[in-house]
């Protein structure tokens, strides 16, 4: 596979204003140096050990598995990381790079608020100025995370343009970056955007799969039959998939947000229901109309509510190495409730899409199968949404 100029065959690349090229080149260089710099790697590893809480544990969920064809189901507990999701892995890596590039200010977009909270956390830890762009709609859906970011010292700017969700937050962050690129690093939270973001964010997230692969081997003495993860932009999925890509017998299954159902048009399942296009600086699958205008996505999960997807997923899809399926809001919420009640673990609604996928895949593969699921985040932030959904009075 060619990653030259950040391409995954025809996907990826850079579709950005010329003004950003210098900053992207600088970032690419800093990242490439860091990859081979033992001091950088030592620093990041130390942070993960003493701050993130890595390695994250593996939890077998036997009572949940009864509902999934009796397969052996293992959860990679990224929800137990500091700040409550996998987002911290990428954020700490990029914050270290920010420091190395001599920049004093970071900006970030956020949907569910998980990446925004992680970015605000890293900014506090490293003494960086931090501005978070968040769709106005999402600031309402995720008000608790807005408060968390503010407590961490970040400025949260609600974005009222367009659909007022993640896509518009990214637009606004890119406008800020074009204007303040000399002093500012855009700490993008997912494996999308212009090169080097898709490869760089993947490099910071692939630790999930590297740890999990060893842990599964140690626990079960063999590789899992399938690895499952939810997909919005796709960072937690690429993070857990990557170490397994050479293991051809391991199925990689990404679960997209099917919203009200693909047939309704109200969904965020970009690979399942979209077409090839360019959005936010990269070529991948996009939800778009016949004029190339981005179509608004819909999902109960703010973190998956994005009409694009990382280019490496588009590539893995096209070559058949990974499969992508859609999970509706209702299926995700049923899995959310099931894991909570059978295992005492309240998952993020994002991650509940992966759990719902596991229920189906477990039934397909039967009781001898081993399924590894990336439990990418915890559900504390979703209590309000879930309470409304299930009719629990607050």
């Amino acid at each position: 596979m060619s990653e030259i100029l950040g391409h995954f065959e025809s996907y990826g690349g850079r579709f950005v204003p010329e003004a950003l090229i210098g900053a992207l080149d600088e970032l690419e260089e800093a990242h490439n140096l860091a990859l081979v710099d033992p001091e950088f790697q030592r620093e990041l590893k130390h942070l993960h050990l003493t701050y993130t809480g890595r390695p994250s544990i593996l939890t077998e969920v036997k009572r949940f598995a009864v509902h999934a064809g009796g397969a052996q189901i293992l959860l990679k507990r990224e929800d137990l990381n500091h700040t409550g999701s996998h987002k911290i892995n990428n954020v700490l890596g990029q914050a270290l790079l920010t420091k190395r590039m001599g920049k004093k200010r970071i900006i970030a977009e956020t949907g569910a608020g998980q990446h925004g909270v992680a970015a605000a956390t890293a900014a506090a830890l490293f003494g960086l100025e931090c501005v978070i762009y968040m769709g106005e709609e999402d600031t309402k859906r995720q008000s608790l995370n807005v408060a968390r970011m503010k407590l961490l010292g970040a400025e949260v700017i609600p974005v009222s343009a367009g659909s007022r969700t993640l896509k518009d937050a990214i637009n606004e962050a890119m406008r800020d970056w074009v204007t303040n690129v000399d002093t500012t690093h855009y700490l993008l939270g997912t494996v999308a955007g212009p090169h080097p973001f898709p490869t760089m964010v993947r490099d910071f997230q692939k630790i999930i799969g590297e740890e999990a692969r060893e842990q599964v081997l140690e626990l079960t003495s063999r590789l899992p039959d399938a690895v499952l993860a939810c997909i919005g932009g796709g960072s937690n999925a690429i993070g857990i998939f990557h170490a397994f890509i050479p293991d051809k017998q391991v199925r990689l299954i990404g679960l997209e947000a099917g919203g009200d159902g693909i047939e309704t048009g109200r969904h965020a399942a970009t690979i399942t229901g979209g077409s090839v296009g360019v959005l936010h600086g990269t070529r991948s699958y996009v939800l778009q109309d016949e004029n190339g205008q981005t179509v608004e996505s819909h999902s109960i999960s703010a973190g998956l509510d994005y009409p694009g997807v990382g280019p490496e997923h588009a590539y893995l899809h096209d070559i058949g190495r990974a499969e992508y399926r859609a999970i509706t809001d209702d299926q995700a919420m049923a899995a959310f409730a099931l894991l909570s009640k059978t295992e005492g673990i309240i998952p993020a609604i994002e991650s509940a899409h992966a759990l719902a996928g596991a229920i189906n895949v477990g039934k397909e593969l039967g009781p001898d199968a081993i399924l590894l699921i990336n439990l990418s985040g915890r559900g504390d932030k979703d209590v309000q949404t879930a309470a409304t959904y299930f009719g629990i009075e607050l």
Binding site: A19, G22, V181, L279, Q293
Partner: protein
Amino acid sequence: MATSLEALFIKTRSENRAALIAYIPAGFPSQQGCKNAISALARAGVDAVEIGFPYSDPVMDGPTIQAAANISLQGGTGAAEVFSTLNFANQAGLPAVVMTYWNPIERYGVDRFAQEIARNGGSGVVTPDLTIEESDGWKLATQAAGINSIYVVAPSTTDDRLARVTQRCSGFVYAASLMGVTGTRTTISSGAQSLVDRIRKTTSLPIAVGLGVSTREQVRDVAGFADGVIVGSAFIKILLQARDEEAGLESLSALAQDLVAGVRQGR
């Protein structure tokens, strides 16, 4: 054969002045309103128009052009309306180019898009988010259609890269006057002139400066060192704020006449 845009710059160079280029999104303030605005701009003596293809995610644009693009999109503007507006400008005798983010071109079909531009009398296309690394197919398509491909460079573009980008340009080089998004500014960044100077070392193509240019004084200053001055948000603001279309067109004409005079005072 030279495009009408190329012919324009030969003419303005022989007159020792810069060209004034006006930007307006197709379908703004309405399909017909846009055409009326183009007629008014032509009558006022504007040299060329840049017709915007409104896009849902315009990351290079500030609030004014975002607002205009939204109005245009709500009015149902798509490729057909953009080409029809281009055709209208051509009929009005104005050299015209389309400015569009890349995805609408890719969605329409790269070769087909270039051919449609040519068929409707357009001189070329400005692509603010197409990097030269991604432009091989577009280069062939524009060459086959006989239209100009215009790239935008920025103050942060290195000399080495400027040389490579301007090599891909034809018609003119679009110099962004500052680091930032479109919109009116109170002053023109001093970076604009030094960028133009750096571009000149790489190409003999005309250079037009855009971003943040809105007043007669600014136009006059930029016309002193550039071959073209591009004004967008200032015109759009007038149309957004007008109490009705007639009043809007009147104010638009007044500003255009003012800027047309400004462009002739630069040297």
